[in-house]
């Protein structure tokens, strides 16, 4: 595969230069997989707006990830973007937004290589002992340090962060219809845990499981007990041991996705690990220069250490069968009070926008007015126009007379005519909405235009699209073919 990869170092201000040379924090390197132009989010993303820059409460979704990492003191980041164009866009935004806060390197990889492919492409940049991989489309307040700490504590090959399944669909208090239609499949991931909820024994996507599934007997026997959970989702924040990750990527060129290929593979093979086979050789070589006595000491030493800790089932299994190597796949289960949503569908996009200015408003970084909404001072409101709670009105937007805005996000410099109702919707920058429109549960992308008296319900309007006068639409997607 020829990845045209082009890691660009961004300008850093002088005061930040010293961190460039510093070692990775706690021996962790952070990779953000920002994706490219996702097809699942089709009308929302476009050539102009890659997935990472989709506005959530008028800020690109990537900024939430960066803020989260920055608040955890992680300032050396590698952002991997699919596609050259997208990389340019994302890189441009990052360099303008966090020029003197973070040290970010953007790497562009070929499109459609998948997450595993993207990592393969930047593998030679990874030098730290462990790699923290964060999906670029999450909006969350779960500290990534926790997963890293768990990873370190168990000396695991991979640690995945799991969190409670986010509530999908408009919240109950929203009061508008269309709840059931947008319901997602009941379970996203099927996850098997051991009885201490420390180790990952099984993972599969809920959609892949039709009727029956296979669980490794050896794992089940070793662990004794497995708890299958469907109320947890994989948060796409992983900590990998670098050596393991690189090995898997090298050995299995067919693997495309971290979640669907690499992680299940590691979980499956945790009791007959290939990834550690030659690592121990290296270790022995390293110690081999000493005398025989020294090696003997090493053996005793490792014995003392391993005897001291209460062994995980891996060690018990290993001790039962001498030559087998094992590796650990751990999980960190985030607290239920933490917020987590992955922006991977249109519905999720709506949810995130709603939550960030609503229930999870501590994430947005804005200060809310007494009415629980944000109206930019430069926004103009016509007479008898009401902006309800949990709303956001961007800079320079104009709203005509007798309008009503509820639970919606309106971008910058939008022009909204008179007598318009906007409920549970997202209107992006520079959109124009004519008089008498009614918009419910819809997304209007930037520069789109709605002519007079358009009624939209659960629709998506592509950027720059013009919806004609008086149309009444329900659940449609407007896009140029």
């Amino acid at each position: 595969q020829n990845q045209n990869q082009n890691p660009r170092k961004l300008e850093t201000s002088p005061c930040f230069l010293f961190t460039v040379n510093s070692v990775a924090k706690m021996d962790f390197q952070v990779v953000i997989l920002a994706g490219g132009f996702s097809s699942t989010l089709f009308p929302l993303v476009s050539k102009e707006v890659p997935k990472a820059l989709l506005p959530v409460a008028n800020r690109p979704v990537l900024s939430y990830v960066l803020d989260l990492l920055e608040s955890n003191n992680l300032k050396d980041l590698i952002v991997v973007v699919e596609g050259e164009d997208a990389a340019l866009k994302v890189g441009g935004w990052i360099s303008s937004a966090c020029v003197d806060r973070l040290h970010v390197e953007v790497a562009a990889v070929a499109e459609n290589v998948g997450t595993a492919g993207a990592l393969r492409a930047i593998a030679h940049h990874l030098t730290a002992k462990d790699i923290l991989i964060v999906s670029g489309d999450i909006v969350s307040d779960i500290p990534p340090g926790a997963v890293a700490a768990t990873h370190r504590r168990h000396d695991a090959a991979v640690t995945a962060m799991l969190c409670a399944q986010p509530v999908s669909g408009p919240s109950e208090s929203g009061g508008s219809g269309g709840k059931d239609k947008t319901k997602k499949p009941a379970c996203e991931d099927i996850i098997g845990l051991d009885s201490w909820k420390q180790f990952l024994l099984y993972i599969a996507k809920g959609t892949e499981i039709k009727k029956d599934t296979r669980v490794k007997k050896s794992i089940l026997c070793a662990a004794g007990k497995m708890e299958l959970r469907s109320d947890l989702v994989d948060s796409h924040i992983y900590a990998f041991k670098r050596s393991v990750l690189q090995k898997v990527l090298d050995q299995k060129p067919a693997f495309r996705s971290l979640k669907q290929d690499v992680l299940p593979y590691l979980v499956r093979t945790q009791l007959r690990s290939d990834v550690f086979s030659d690592q121990s050789n290296v270790e022995e070589n390293g110690n081999g220069n000493g005398k025989n006595n020294m090696q003997n000491n090493e053996v005793v030493l490792s014995q003392i250490l391993s005897n001291a800790s209460s062994p995980s089932f891996h060690q018990v299994y290993e001790s039962g069968l001498d030559s087998r190597k094992t590796h650990k796949c751990c999980v960190y289960i985030a607290d239920e009070s933490k917020y987590f949503v992955r922006l991977n569908s249109i519905q999720a996009f709506m949810d995130v926008n709603r939550d960030v200015i609503g229930d999870a408003n501590h994430l947005s970084g804005y200060s809310f007015s007494a009415h629980h909404n944000i109206v930019h001072p430069s926004a103009e409101l016509g007479s008898k126009t009401t902006v309800g709670p949990h709303c956001m009105l961007g800079e320079g937007s104009q709203v005509g007379d007798k309008c009503s805005v509820k639970r919606s996000v309106i971008g910058r410099h939008c022009r909204i005519g008179s007598n318009v109702k906007i409920v549970n919707s997202v209107v992006m920058d520079h959109a124009t909405i004519g008089d008498g429109c009614s918009i419910q549960g819809s997304v209007i992308c930037s520069n789109a235009q709605l002519q007079e008296r358009v009624t939209l319900r659960d629709c998506q309007v592509e950027a720059g699209y013009i919806v004609c006068v008086g149309g009444e639409h329900k659940g449609e997607t407007f896009a140029r073919k």
Binding site: K129, P143, A146, A148, R153, A308, S309, P311
Partner: protein, 643 residues
């Protein structure tokens, strides 16, 4: 606990008697109690001299006089009962209240019946070491009697007598800031404060006494001192202090290093609050704590780990290896004295490896500071074991002794190899020697009993098995850790014939046992074995059945401290561990009672086995009776500094 202590006083009079008797002695006389000097003998009262420990005690360890204890207890006792102390009856009343004071609060290291051995040489009246111990007294609130000795030597007898009362003053002024261990400045300041407080107290004429005294310890002591001799006080103190400084000057530094740090007393609220502010690990104090163990740290266990985990990237100066070890301590992934010590030393090796001296800083000092900060982090994760304390002392000593001429890389290499050598010699090497010695004690047909999962004993058993000795092992275990099961698993795998039982059955099973092998977390210099809780019980039953008890313990775990009970220094485990049984939802009868004010959980981690239950301690210096421990400590310590 109480029931055990009472018989103890009978079983082991030589230790007990001293502690209890002297606690009720008047201050001035007890200060000269252990004085072999004729000068001071004239000063001490006759009845006291008859029960002088040097007179009737056969113990190899001279128990330091109660002065030490009292000096520890003084300031805080005053703080606690500040309002109750009447100035004139100062020395008397505080004496009488002493046991209470020492239990409830004391800033010193060991409140109850635990002393530092450094005062032993004083008792044996070696003049040269007498100086040392005097210095130690200055620096670390070791018995004030040490101070007395010197002042007698240096000053005219008349003055010393007068000073003896005052020295209590100077001493507990020092103790009022035991954490700092400052000498001159702190003292001067204390005096100043004392005078100021005395003035204030004089103004209000005692009526508002409590108000004045309750705040600061120093002022309390000053007030107490006021009626005695306000004018001469300053001079006396100054003279005593001055003399002490002059004499103790050079050796003071070394002593200071040796003296263990005063341990935090967790029932002292102001200190706890202060410590909490510094703490990296979020520590929520457990609510219902057992009264007797209030001075030990006990935290809500559930919250610490997640909180520390979330801060993973936010602890800037923390080294990943140290952090990992800390996490493992906190979560209990690593336990056992040897393993914890090795893990810590390995982490320090990593630290040394990745270390680079910051510009304009000195490697020796900067690295010492770094190690100290890491150590305090580790302490927050779990209190240090004594073995770890010794290892840390070794590392710091090596850093301090690094020749300044070495380049950074050389220094680092030297340190790394030093640490490596410590692990190899003191831990692994020691174990092999112990195994060699201990195996000679195993005969065919023996039934050996062990408790818990001691590493050294395990090696002994495995080695004995390799030598084709025919023996049987009884593994005694206890909740909640059930470490014995792990040992059992490993022994069975090697084909050793084992029996497994819980400690409840100990009295029954002891009939068939021929030898008891135990491990230890530490052996203290009065021969007390400090080990996993339950060891004392096993040893006691064994000695009652006349079964020899052999303790396998590496010499690096020995400590000069003396401890008579398991109260003053111990560790409290997670109360949930004993209130719940993992995986057995059906027998969780205590659900919902955890926060009941009438219920307190006590999950002790260690206990102290008195030396008279122990037949022999097998260490890397050979097989010794518990009474010989101080010798090894002394010799070892010497070697320790020279290594």
């Amino acid at each position: 606990m109480e029931s055990r202590r009472n018989p103890r006083a009978v079983v082991d009079p030589k230790v007990r008697q001293v502690g209890f008797f002297t606690s009720s002695q008047p201050d001035s006389s007890s200060s000269q109690l252990q004085q072999p000097d004729p000068i001071s003998a004239s000063a001490s009262s006759p009845p006291v001299s008859t029960i002088s420990p040097s007179g009737n005690s056969l113990s190899p360890v001279m128990i330091p006089p109660p002065r030490h204890n009292s000096s520890d207890a003084f300031p805080l006792r005053n703080a606690v009962v500040a309002s109750a102390v009447s100035p004139s009856s100062f020395s008397y009343s505080s004496r009488r209240d002493f046991p209470d004071g020492s239990t409830t609060a004391s800033p010193g290291r060991h409140s109850r019946g635990s002393f530092v051995k450094s005062s032993v040489p004083v008792a044996s009246s070696l003049p040269g070491i007498g100086m040392d111990s005097m210095a130690a007294a200055k620096s670390s609130s070791v018995p004030a009697s040490g101070l007395t000795t010197v002042s007698v030597v240096t000053m005219p007898p008349g003055l010393s007598e007068k000073a003896s009362g005052m020295e209590v003053e100077s001493d507990h002024k020092k103790n009022s800031k035991p954490l700092k261990e400052k000498t001159t400045k702190a003292e001067r300041r204390a005096i100043q404060e004392a005078q100021r407080a005395a003035k204030a107290a004089a103004k209000v004429d005692g009526g508002k006494g409590p108000a004045v005294t309750s705040a600061s310890v120093a002022s309390t002591s000053a007030k107490a001192a006021r009626p005695a001799k306000p004018t001469s006080q300053k001079n006396d103190v100054a003279v005593a202090a001055g003399a002490a400084e002059k004499k103790g000057g050079p050796s003071e530094k070394d002593r200071k290093k040796d003296a263990p740090h005063p341990r935090m007393q967790y029932d002292d609220e102001s200190r706890v609050v202060k410590a909490k502010r510094r703490a990296v690990v979020k520590q929520t104090e457990a609510k219902n704590r057992v009264e007797l163990f209030r001075h030990l740290p006990q935290y809500e266990h559930g919250t610490q780990l997640p909180d520390l985990e979330t801060k993973f990237f936010q602890l800037d100066p923390m080294h990943p290896a140290v952090y990992k070890v800390g996490l493992q301590y906190l979560s209990g992934d690593i336990s056992g004295g040897n393993a914890r010590c090795i893990a810590m030393l390995h982490a320090f090796q990593e630290v040394v490896k990745d270390y680079s001296t910051p510009p304009e800083k000195n490697l020796n000092r900067d690295m010492t500071a770094k190690i100290s900060s890491y150590v305090s982090f580790l302490i927050e994760c779990r209190p240090l074991s004594i073995s770890m304390g010794n290892a840390i002392r070794f590392v710091k000593n090596r850093i301090a002794k690094l020749p300044i001429t070495l380049s950074e890389s050389e220094a680092k290499a030297a340190l790394q190899s030093d640490i490596e050598r410590f692990i190899n010699d003191k831990i692994i090497g020691a174990d092999t020697v112990i195994v060699k010695h201990a195996v000679s004690k195993i005969r065919d047909g023996d039934v050996l009993l062990t408790y818990g999962s001691p590493t050294a004993v395990e090696m002994v058993l495995l080695h004995a098995h390799e030598l084709r000795k025919k023996f049987r092992v009884l593994v005694v275990d206890s909740r909640p850790k059930l470490e014995g099961q792990l040992l059992l698993r490993r022994l069975i795998k090697r084909g050793i014939n084992c029996t497994y039982t819980h400690i409840n059955a100990i009295s029954y099973i002891m009939h068939e046992v021929t030898k008891v092998f135990l491990g230890a977390s530490s052996v203290l210099s009065n021969g007390t074995v400090y080990s996993r809780v339950g060891t004392a019980c096993v040893a006691m039953v064994a000695s009652a059945f006349r079964v020899p008890v052999l303790v396998c313990c590496e010499a690096y775990k020995f400590h000069e401290r003396v401890q008579l009970d398991s109260i003053c220094s111990n560790e409290l485990g997670d109360p949930n561990a004993i209130s719940k049984v993992h995986g057995r939802e059906d027998i969780n009868y205590l659900d919902g009672l955890t926060n009941n004010a009438n219920l307190q959980f006590l999950n002790l981690m260690y206990d102290a086995t008195p030396s008279d239950y122990i037949s022999m301690i097998i260490t890397d210096y050979g097989m010794v009776p518990p009474t010989s421990v101080p010798v090894i400590v002394r010799e070892y310590q010497k070697e320790h500094l020279l290594v």
